[in-house]
């Protein structure tokens, strides 16, 4: 079947609303949700801050898909990569692919970490603590290596079978996540809350607020809101989902992303956080975020299967994506070899629990790195012509590297990361992307103006 990689999707291949509903609901209920929910509790979040923050943040994410990504996707109907090639030039897209691939590798590493925690339930080896950076036992290393190698091999052989399996697992997995929450809630009621209302139980026993655990950043309403909004920043504001939504008959179909947000990033995060809060209430010294034992405690073998399958089915396509991104840089090496090497890199990353244990910060960084390119696409599509400038400048001039886009991307990144480092405020990572988007937009307009004027002068001369 044609994937319309270098041409607009024709009307005959455009899809209805239901296609997007299922895709988004499945894609955003992943293994990493079992890490993110507990990390909110470790960050000392309060009940109102969590519930309201997730509600608002996810709503903003859905609106970003609807009003930033979908209008461009349904007008241009091109993949992000082809659109980027026309705007930025092939060489800059290659650098973008490299950055994307590296981030995918680390993300896949965190998913392998999640799956490996399930092995610890059976083999009883010491598993990483919340603030561990390095692997802490031979059992952990062997477990990550075996799981990582298996996932890498399957990804290298082709991910279609796993993608189909993931589709089969999705409805079951969503319900298991939901049941995690129900069982955790019941355990709290049994222990503490017979005479408490649900809200009193939530705010005084589960998400109590107060200080975060040592080594964690304190989360408020604003942290939760911005995290929920920006954790998929690469996809909406960063425009990755142009490649998907170009198939939508109408731009409003992007509202289907709400299925993913409110199932995966609302219900699943809340359910996973309840399990971790329960663990802390039973033993405050046990602050390890280990999805395997958490899930096993709540739902037995079914819970453990959920951890393995959720981690595996999401790590697999992530490694595949990273492999494709790297292969674009090294087109002469076979996809099998590149994907296998990428999987090995992800496996090595998975050995280090610091990536999974600091997943909130990592996900924010991931979105931040790819965000300026989304701003470039947005400005190029809507604004450049209004300033009397040429859009899709690389295609127009036949150049491989659009300096204006590179300046907008790298200078924005430099300023945003610089602010976080200079102020020594790691939590600002969750907020700098918003002003960063405007900065990238302004930089792209100004640098395009200068570049295009210079080129025009040179042509005249």
């Amino acid at each position: 079947m044609s994937e319309f990689e270098r041409e607009p999707v024709p009307q005959s291949s455009q899809l209805g609303f239901k296609s997007f509903l299922g895709m988004y609901a499945g894609e955003h209920c992943a293994g990493t949700e079992l890490m993110i929910g507990p990390l909110f509790v470790a960050a000392g979040v309060g009940a109102f801050d969590l519930i309201a923050g997730l509600f608002v943040g996810n709503l903003l994410a859905v609106l970003s898909w609807m009003f930033l990504t979908a209008p461009i996707a349904t007008r241009a109907r091109l993949t992000l990569y082809y659109q980027l090639e026309r705007i930025c030039g092939r060489q800059l897209v290659t650098i973008y692919n490299l950055a994307n691939g590296v981030m995918f590798c680390f993300l896949a590493g965190a998913m392998i970490t999640v799956s490996a925690t399930a092995a610890g339930v059976f083999f009883q080896f010491p598993m990483p603590e919340l603030n561990d950076v390095y692997p802490n036992s031979a059992g952990w290393v062997i477990s990550v290596l075996v799981i990582g190698l298996a996932i890498s091999l399957v990804a290298a052989l082709g991910y279609n079978a796993v993608a189909r399996f993931a589709n089969v697992a999705a409805p079951w997995m969503v319900l298991v996540f939901f049941v995690f929450g129900l069982i955790g809630l019941r355990e709290f009621i049994r222990a503490d809350g017979d005479d408490l209302s649900l809200w009193e139980l939530a705010s005084t026993k589960i998400w109590t607020g107060g200080d975060p655990l040592p080594g964690q950043v304190k989360f408020t309403f604003w942290h939760v809101t911005f995290f929920a909004w920006f954790c998929n920043m690469a996809m909406h504001i960063g425009m990755s989902d142009l490649s998907v939504l170009r198939f939508a008959k109408k731009p409003w179909y992007a509202v289907a992303s709400g299925a993913g947000m409110y199932v995966g990033h609302f219900m699943a995060w809340i359910a996973a956080s309840i399990l971790y809060a329960l663990q802390l209430s039973r033993d405050p010294s046990n602050d390890a975020v280990l999805p395997g034992p958490l899930a096993y405690e709540a739902a037995g073998i079914a819970g453990l299967c959920c951890v393995v399958i959720a981690g595996w089915t999401t790590a697999n396509p992530t490694i595949y994506r990273a492999g494709l991104a790297f292969q674009a840089v090294m087109p002469n090496v076979s996809r099998f070899k590149v994907t296998l090497a990428t999987g090995l890199l992800a496996t090595v990353a998975g050995l280090f629990p610091a990536i999974a244990m600091k997943l909130l910060g990592f996900v924010a960084l991931y979105g931040l790195i790819l965000m300026p390119i989304g701003a470039v696409v947005f400005v190029d599509f809507w604004l450049l012509k209004r300033f009397g400038l040429k859009s899709e400048y690389a295609a127009h001039r036949g150049i491989g590297f659009n300096v204006a886009a590179a300046i907008a991307w790298l200078a924005t990144l430099g300023v945003c990361v610089g602010i976080v480092i200079v102020l020594e405020r790691g939590d600002l990572l969750f907020f700098v992307a918003l002003p960063g988007w405007f900065l990238a937009s302004v930089l792209y307009v100004v640098s395009s103006m200068l570049l295009q004027r210079r080129d025009a002068h040179e042509s005249v001369a």
Binding site: M1, E3, E5, R6, S12, S13, Q14, L15, S19, F20, M23, T79, Y81, Y82, E85, V93, T94, N97, N100, Y159, A163, R164, N167, V168, A169, P171, W172, L175, V176, F178, V179, L182, I183, L185, R186, I189, S240, D241, S243, V244, F247, A299, G300, I301, A302, G303, C305, P317, Y320, R321, L324, A325, Q327, A328, P331
Partner: protein, 85 residues
């Protein structure tokens, strides 16, 4: 729909109920009659039942859609393949 697929679908729905109902029952039953271990056992059986029966109708449904030529969203992963372009 053929009887095999209908039967498999019915069993799959039963499996999903087997995941959800023990959790709900555990939450809403005050007495200690409903033990967590029983709920876990039912969920494990339901999990097994789901993965045995769901592929029979879900994968066939996917294949039928593929064969019919109806458009589907190509995997995002495959669209990143710049080398193919």
């Amino acid at each position: 729909m053929n009887p095999l697929r209908s039967g498999a679908m019915a069993l799959s729905m039963l499996a999903l109920a087997g995941i959800l109902i023990p959790g709900l029952r555990y939450l809403f039953t005050d007495s200690d009659d409903v033990q967590l271990e029983n709920a876990k056992l039912i969920m494990t059986i339901a999990t097994f039942l789901w993965f045995v029966t769901a592929p029979i109708w879900m994968l066939r449904a996917t294949k039928a859609e593929d064969d019919s030529g109806a458009p589907v969203i190509p995997a995002k992963d495959e669209q990143t393949d710049m080398s193919a372009s």
